[in-house]
Amino acid sequence: MTTDTSPRIELVCPAGGLPALKTAVDHGADCVYAGFRDETNARNFTGLNFDDKALAEGVKYAHSRRAKVLIALNTFPQASNWSRWTAAVDRAAGHGVDAVILADLGLMDYAAHRHPNLRLHLSVQGSATNYEAINFYRERFGIQRAVLPRVLSLAQVEQVIANTQVEIEVFGFGGLCVMVEGRCALSAYATGTSPNCQGACSPGKAVRWEQTPQGMETRLNGILIDRYADGERAGYPTLCKGRFEVDEETYYAIEEPTSLNTLEMLPELMRIGVSAIKIEGRQRSPAYVEQVTKVWRAAIDACRRDAANFVPKAAWMAELNKVSEGQSHTLGAYYRPWK
């Protein structure tokens, strides 16, 4: 428990299933975000996510411990399947969740009219990178929070916050998605499945790993996207993090497999008025959720007690690096000397 009066910053943790949700709540998450078992959310992977029974229990569990449950409905419906998304909004509202995280304008409109008391968060997939866009969502649909895409520098985040009443949530830790969020066509191009409409980047059915004499190979729909030497750290099987031959040189031509980690920026994020920090990783196991939630809870509490002297502990960084993709972590776009 913190006793000071410094601004509250919510810790928003991922849950791919009921055990992960409970783990997050037990280790200090203020909010847990989750999705249904279908393409209405951007982690539509086999065996993952919540059916009604699990969600009912999850909401009960979280609420009895004063934690919130947010439901991500952050993919884009098409004319032919629209009703599946509206039904998902109704289901979430029926479960008494604390907010839905939406990206699609039409769905936003539906939710605002059908469930006027349901809190709306704008998903990172909505790709609103400036306050004008965010204020538009506020004006039209009454959104209360926006999750910022991982493309803004800290100064830009500060400028957004200064010019909107909407609460701002930023990504603090986890996998990076290089493209302007919600707009990436790489995986759809290679696999025929769109992450933005069907909720899966590099779906399992398109991924093959194989140990060969040359190293461990990753293929996406038959296309070789990376080959790892023995002992070399691996990354997710996504096209953006593949190594490709460009001008006779083979390297990470789009993005290196690294994880975002903004722990050291925590005092700054609090100072500029960020309302919530999101941890990426609904596709991961309860063990990850436990490890990451513990570290971030401890760090946020320490920073709220004494922001001026806050230094991330080496043990926290080591724990986070251990669960990270690739070889290293990065501050992403938050730290960018150029403008």
């Binding site: 299933g17 992960a20 750290r233 997710y236 196991s285 309860p286």
Partner: protein
């Protein structure tokens, strides 16, 4: 709350070399027994079974191989209408998972995340990745009741069988000289 953490260990190299020459059936039977017990273990009328049958439907008729690298063991089994059974032939598996004993146990005990092990090259999943995701996510989604695993009394309880598998491995683990 969990009471102990798995230490980081690798079975001795001698065992890795000897392993393939020892019979693979006993450990496979223990594993298959544990999985079938998990299928039968009811958690009360409201919660259903430890391993929900509906979720395993896509596994029917599929062959899975676990390669326990440091034990030099290859455990082959399949899932069918009547549960898990060992596979006796050498037909290629639909899914092969390779890791050290310690890391397989850490996954089952929820001490490590599969992606973390994969990034660190401690877990390899070959074959049908979709099937692998199903297995991993189904295991992760099982809401285990909170009790000390060691206190389970039934001889057929999965944890008990798991620890018997551990004992079996430990008996085969010879100290370094």
């Amino acid at each position: 709350m969990k009471t102990f953490k798995l230490p980081d260990f690798t079975l001795p190299a001698l065992l890795t070399r000897l392993g393939p020459r020892l019979p693979q059936l006993p450990p496979t039977l223990v594993l298959v027994g544990a999985l079938n017990a998990a299928l039968r273990t009811a958690r009360g009328p409201a919660l259903g079974h430890l391993l929900p049958k509906e979720l395993l439907e896509p596994l029917i008729g599929r062959r899975v191989t676990l390669r326990v690298l440091d034990a030099g063991m290859t455990l082959r089994f399949a899932y069918g209408e009547r549960g898990f059974r060992p596979s006796f032939d050498n037909a290629p598996a639909d899914l092969t998972m390779s890791a050290r004993t310690r890391d397989f146990l850490a996954l089952l005990l929820r001490e490590e995340d599969a992606d973390t092990l994969f990034f660190g090259r401690r877990l390899l999943m070959e074959g049908d990745t979709e099937l692998g995701l199903l297995v991993k996510n189904t295991l992760d989604g099982i809401d285990l009741p909170r009790f000390d695993l060691a206190q389970l009394s039934s001889r057929l309880a999965p944890a008990e069988l798991l620890s018997r598998l551990g004992e079996y491995l430990a008996r085969r683990a010879v100290p370094h000289h």
